[in-house]
């Protein structure tokens, strides 16, 4: 058994940590206030190789492990959850499905720019009437004179309306009932990107609803086999769960770091507040939960890297790490007291950003369902 990262992964983790500390953390508050996705930082992260990490070199990637990707997501998320989800979704929901399920023509059309952070891709699965009931897909696809025609609506689609969004993968149901995925290039007539949502958190992340009205795309734009859309997106979500869990580690660690510093330096009743057990034990619990969550996340990533079954491990990692992150933000703001309620304090931003971790890419309830099914229980949604 070996708990050490490889030398290269450890070196890379240091580089991303330094990058996040210098290039992202100082500006996170500003982007949050402006509710603006910093495209220039996406380009910088592309130069660093973050968007192409898990893609093979022939498509502009680095051929790194999924574990290395999770390390990067955690480090970026430590500085800014919005930028972290932009990376997590840009790779996991944007580029990787095109690599995994696309043919070489589709790969060469989209991957080089996605792998280098020159473009972002999105994945349109969730619908206004769907949510956790992802199978209840109402978007329809029919054959048109020159290809496919899509009609329907999608909700909560990350990276779908950025200035550099190049393509959106959309799932839709055929008249015969099967579900397929389709590549809809940005700017296609009939694809309407709705104004950005006003969200509780993740202000600097780009999220929109989409409307597809007589949206015609070429015949070659089907992604994967006809009827394989449902199976493919389930596989995509398993990976996404691990990287959302890694993002949650970044959130919890940022809270632990900030609150620990504060407990050492903030004086009350004649000394630092960290000498009170009420504060110290809260931090001890936070550190323990973070370490347990890290174990789950790293193991889930390791299982995936070693081609072992990881559905259960991914669900457990996502469930535990995201709930840990939410608890950590609550405890950290409590330690800061009134100062933690001010927007100038990063823990206030993390407090707002954390909640969605328990919702996106499978709610905590869905994770429990997956885990319970793995216990061979006759549980139903």
């Amino acid at each position: 058994m070996d708990f050490d990262l490889t030398e290269e992964d450890a070196a890379f983790q240091q580089v991303v940590r330094e990058f996040a500390r210098k290039e992202i953390a100082p500006r996170a508050e500003q982007w949050d206030q402006e509710a603006r996705l910093p495209v220039e930082v996406v380009h910088q992260m592309g130069d660093l190789g973050l968007f192409g990490l898990v893609l093979p070199p022939e498509w502009g990637g680095s051929g790194a492990s999924f574990t290395a990707f999770c390390l990067a997501v955690e480090e970026i998320g430590w500085a800014d959850q919005s930028v972290g989800i932009t990376l997590s979704a840009g790779v996991g929901l944007g580029a990787v499905p095109i690599y995994r399920f696309g043919d070489d023509a589709q790969r060469s059309a989209w991957l080089p720019d996605l792998a280098t952070g020159r473009a972002l891709a999105a994945f349109g699965l969730t619908e206004p009437d769907g949510g956790s009931d992802a199978g209840a897909l109402r978007t329809r696809v029919r054959e048109g004179p020159d290809g496919w025609v899509l009609d329907g609506a999608k909700a909560f689609i990350t990276n779908s309306g950025t200035p550099i969004t190049s393509v959106i993968t959309v799932t839709a149901r055929h008249a015969h009932g099967g579900v397929s995925a389709f590549l809809v290039p940005a700017g296609t007539p009939g694809l309407q990107v709705e104004p950005a949502y006003r969200k509780l958190g993740w202000h600097a992340s780009d999220t929109h609803g989409l409307v597809l009205a007589d949206c015609a795309i070429p015949r070659d734009n089907m992604l994967g086999q006809e009827g394989s859309g449902y199976r493919n997106f389930l596989a995509t979500l398993d990976d996404g769960r691990i990287s959302i869990a890694a993002l949650a580690l970044g959130c919890a660690r940022a809270c632990l770091d900030a609150a620990s510093d504060y407990a050492r330096t903030r004086n009350a009743f004649g000394g630092p507040i960290g000498r009170f057990q009420a504060v110290a034990f809260s931090l001890a619990d936070m550190a323990t939960a973070l370490e347990a969550a890290r174990g789950l996340v790293m193991r889930a990533a390791w299982l995936k890297d070693h081609q072992r079954p990881y559905k259960q491990a991914a669900a457990m990692a996502k469930l535990y790490a995201t709930e840990t992150a939410v608890s950590a933000t609550r405890a950290a703001t409590q330690i800061f007291g009134g100062a933690g309620f001010l927007e100038e304090n990063p823990v206030a931003r993390f407090y707002r950003d954390a909640k969605v971790l328990e919702i996106g890419e499978g709610t905590s309830e869905v994770q429990r369902l997956v885990i319970a099914k793995g216990l061979d229980l006759p549980v139903s949604p």
């Binding site: 290269e8 070196a11 890379f12 580089v15 330094e18 660093l48 190789g49 990490l53 070199p57 680095s62």
Partner: protein, 259 residues
């Protein structure tokens, strides 16, 4: 154009350092990292080599225990190879001894240009680069805030207290670059992986044709006699505005040579 960058691997400044009570110098055992101030030289060398459209960047370093962690960082940024001098007999080497060792190692790379930082972040003597140039019989231009190479010459804007001097000299030459002269790139994952297999030539003092009495404590002409703790920072001076505060602030900054 072939460029050599002198890089130092130092104990992580973020960790509390320890002095060796015998030699009164910094303990340099364990993992060392690339001196931050050398990242500027590496970046400058990479940019100059890229602009020249050919040639490579070679790192030259001296470190105990065959340490290469810091070199790998600079290799991950894009340097092609490294020469590392590591030898037990080097313990206690002073700045001049280090210059002799580095000069001998640099000669093997036959560079057109040698780049170094103005000073290291752990030792701060700031004397090594010009000693290396002197031993090699090369011109040296220090404190470069911008560098351009053309027509077999290096043109440098050299930082001074009042502004900068425009200086040029023929190649080969040695320059020292100030922190901030360029923005060092972050090593990419590809760069880190590639650095694994880049050559690091490890040499001993004998390989360089030097004798053991020229280096190490035996060859050192410099000795740290005593070390005392830095003075505690004193309370600042409060300037109350009585209509002339701006003049007094300017005078104060001028006196510190900050403006």
């Amino acid at each position: 154009m072939n460029v050599v960058v002198c890089v130092k691997q130092i104990p992580d400044p973020a960790q509390p350092g320890q002095l060796d009570p015998g030699s009164k110098t910094l303990k340099r055992e364990g993992k060392l990292i690339l001196d931050d101030s050398d990242a500027y030289g590496v970046e400058m060398a990479l940019l100059l080599a890229e602009k020249a459209g050919g040639g490579e960047v070679t790192l030259v370093s001296m470190a105990p225990n065959g340490e290469t962690s810091g070199l790998r960082t600079a290799l991950a940024m894009g340097a092609a190879k490294a020469i590392l001098v590591s030898d037990d007999s080097l313990a206690g080497t002073d700045a001049l001894g280090t210059a002799k060792v580095l000069a001998a190692a640099i000669k093997r790379a036959e560079p057109d240009l040698i780049v170094a930082a103005t000073e290291s972040t752990d030792g701060y003597t700031g004397t090594l680069p010009v000693q290396v140039a002197e031993i090699l019989g090369l011109p040296s231009v220090t404190f470069a805030k911008s560098v351009d190479v053309a027509d077999g010459k290096v043109k440098v804007n050299r930082q001074t207290e009042a502004g900068y001097d425009e200086v040029e000299c023929p190649l080969p030459a040695l320059i020292t670059v100030t922190a901030g002269v360029v923005e060092p790139r972050y090593p990419s994952f590809k760069g880190i992986m590639a650095a694994r297999s880049k050559p690091v030539e490890q040499l001993t003092v004998a390989d360089l044709g030097l004798s053991a009495d020229q280096v190490g404590a035996a060859g050192a002409r410099q000795e740290v006699v005593d070390v005392t703790a830095a003075e505690e920072r004193k309370a600042g001076e409060v300037i109350t505005d009585e209509g002339d505060a701006h003049e007094r602030v300017v005078a104060f900054l001028d006196q510190l040579k900050l403006i």
